[in-house]
Symmetry: C2
Subunit: 211 residues, 2 copies
């Protein structure tokens, strides 16, 4: 509502800065959802949020700064994977979540827009790294569950199991640009679950010497 | 050298159109290599190739068209994977090739530039799909070798083994934006080789019913 914020760069809960931050990041996500990354501009975000354009430029620098901040903000939202009591089923569900999130309108989702923007922006790439690390940590609870059930060795790199389950899905979506079928999802998740059960992701199983 | 080509859109070997095509696509790859995707323009490619700007626009439409054509053209170049007689070693080598090709100066490599551009351009995405299918087919010879040695079941989906070996590397490079260590490469390739030997990539092993 004003370009004269008291603490640019810091968000005090409940204060004007915090309200402005929430309004701007909400507007960024809404603009992405409605018009996609290609149409995202500081002007549109400013107009939608009711925050002065000069404030948005000063606080976030531009579109890449808005995208990075929106991505960081979205890690504060609650997200939990499904926990069915079966590692394979949980990993299939996780990989399916990836497919759903990225196939409807990829450039309209903040994480997909960030995957694209990270190629050109080190700032977005850094924010994406933090976001994905948060997702790995949240998703890894399904592997921890399997360890507690005794299905997977205790010293398993739980994040690596998550990466293994979703990487083939991302590869088809963003690199080889192939359709992702239900059997692709099941194979990727099933291989990760089987390998985890066999101890392939144990920390000790990682070659420690560089080649 | 002229904007008046007789057969725009068709490349006759040895003719002026073919020479123009080779000059323009060579210039596109050289511009990418020297200045990166962000600096790629029709003007620069035209100046470098000596082909009239209007001809470049008419034949290729713009930067995305140049990128797509350069990617397609690069599939006609010979490339063969290393064949050591050991599937695991061959897949490690393949995944290392991916890391090398994408970590030096990603936006300066035509395939990396295309991975980035494919998010915004359906034309580039289609060309990337064709390029990656060609790469899968060429790389799959290391799996065919393993089948011939009797190490891997005959009805193995050889392309899927290739995807499994490289997907975790691409995931770290382009999605989770994490460093790729030597042990990451060895783990990904090793898991793919082990799973292939156990028959996990047999066509019959793929669930055929949709869930």
């Amino acid at each position: 509502m004003t370009s004269d914020t008291k603490s640019p760069g810091s968000a005090r809960p409940g204060g004007r800065t915090a309200r402005n931050t929430a309004a701007v990041l909400r507007a960024t996500l809404d603009e992405l959802g409605e018009h996609g990354y290609g149409a995202l501009t500081v002007e549109r975000v400013a107009a939608r949020s009711g925050v002065h354009k000069a404030t948005v430029y000063r606080r976030w620098g531009g579109v890449d700064g808005l995208l990075s901040a929106a991505l960081e903000w979205s890690t504060t939202h609650e997200w939990e994977p499904a926990r069915t009591g079966d590692l394979r089923a949980d990993l299939v569900d996780l990989a399916e979540t990836v497919v759903r999130g990225f196939t409807d309108a990829p450039e309209r989702d903040v994480s997909a827009a960030s995957v694209a923007a990270a190629f050109a922006s080190p700032e977005v790439a850094a924010a994406l790294r933090v976001f994905m690390a948060d997702r790995h940590a949240r998703a890894a609870v399904v592997v921890t569950d399997a360890i507690e059930r005794g299905e997977v060795p205790e010293d398993t790199d739980v994040h690596e199991v998550v990466r293994a389950a979703v990487a083939p899905v991302y590869y088809r979506l963003f690199v080889s640009r192939e359709p992702v079928t239900e059997s692709d999802v099941r194979r990727a998740a099933g291989l990760a679950a089987d390998a985890a059960a066999r101890g392939a992701f144990r920390n000790a199983a990682t070659p420690s010497r560089p080649a």
